[in-house]
Symmetry: C2
Subunit: 256 residues, 2 copies
Amino acid sequence: MQQRWKLTIEYDGRPFSGWQRQEAGIPSVQAAIEAAIQSFCQQDITIHVAGRTDAGVHARGQVAHFDLDYGNRALTGYDLTKALNAHLRETPVVILDAEAVGEDFHARFSAVNKLYIFRLLNRPAPPAFERGLVWHVRRLLDVDAMRAGAAHLLGHHDFTTFRDTDCQAKSPMRTLDRLEIIAKPCVAGSGQDLEFHVEGRSFLHHQVRNMVGTLAMVGDGKWTSDQVREALEARDRRAGGPTAPPDGLYLVRIDY
Amino acid sequence: MQQRWKLTIEYDGRPFSGWQRQEAGIPSVQAAIEAAIQSFCQQDITIHVAGRTDAGVHARGQVAHFDLDYGNRALTGYDLTKALNAHLRETPVVILDAEAVGEDFHARFSAVNKLYIFRLLNRPAPPAFERGLVWHVRRLLDVDAMRAGAAHLLGHHDFTTFRDTDCQAKSPMRTLDRLEIIAKPCVAGSGQDLEFHVEGRSFLHHQVRNMVGTLAMVGDGKWTSDQVREALEARDRRAGGPTAPPDGLYLVRIDY
């Protein structure tokens, strides 16, 4: 009997070329998990993901699904999680949860909301712990100015300015429900830890990184916050700011 | 002219045998920083630390001092920080701040308060990001029971039960000013992120790890919270719980 399984996944994106399986020899998160499933049940199974992440992008709560015919043997989510994690032991990929779901569940198409968090370490000194896990910006950014810039991006817009020129989505229209910037002073030394909390039903390719890169220009005083609105209205990628590096980006939660 | 410098330091303890310099070839945080100073000014200088950390223990805000005769050349804290970080680039050690201080400042003896944070990842799934950076405990711990146990440890006591048998301190008397447990649900999947915030003027060898290891016994239901008081009153290391691993321990802040 076939059963659909929903996986919730955490991974450190640093060693991977991204989520998507590539040719043999190129490390991807998808290939790592599919290899674990193959080791567990000796079946070649393709998994379907909610949000394909790029090279170096991380996940705290990625979601994927797959169908498994395990014969008449009983299989619980607890056992499946434990078995896959045993096979994933040598990789920075962890299954947080495996849940039996109905056939109408689809990791990508059933998603109604996604939360991305972008981490930015804003201090003169480089990170000892978070190399490749944050965007390190030395010059102190003006958080209030970035918040004013972010306000222009909320709502339903044509996000062509913040979309990679290679983006395959049919429409550049998206609804941005939240773009909140949380700032905390560093625990020691000068500087601040910034988190950009970004929510919406779906995003264009590089949209979060392009929005963060643009807001950093505002925080650095090179742009006014009103220029973010002008860039959005230009509907032209060349009017936007630079793409922030993948290091700081985490897919944190997907709601269904 | 000789100047005393106060360094604030962040380091990932995983690759080190601890703070203290050992024989050649054994990696220590002290040796890494002294080598950076040597590269910067061609002088063999010994640095003095506030709290020697054990192998695998981390720091977010360690403090050390040293004396440097830099001739008649001007040297700012900004320049010293930048130069040392350039020499430390290949190590997970970062100077957060360098400050010129008076000759009466001593990293260890002038300290009036220390904050340690012990991080515990309490969920079935192993960590993808924090291997060696948290203590991973699979079974769900009862935080309220641990808080009741922790309350017995606050104040001025003979901490022999929580002191390593090799501890060199003359007196086992210490004052514990704070032992707060902060619990947050994991962002995805089941489980909780725990932080033990521990403050006092000074601590015995392994005191924080022995207290956390004992409280975990309470959280796991193997001890009652009253047994923590009984263990403390026994003044015998054999009456205490196990030593928590170094992975979760961070020296976060030192007040002067």
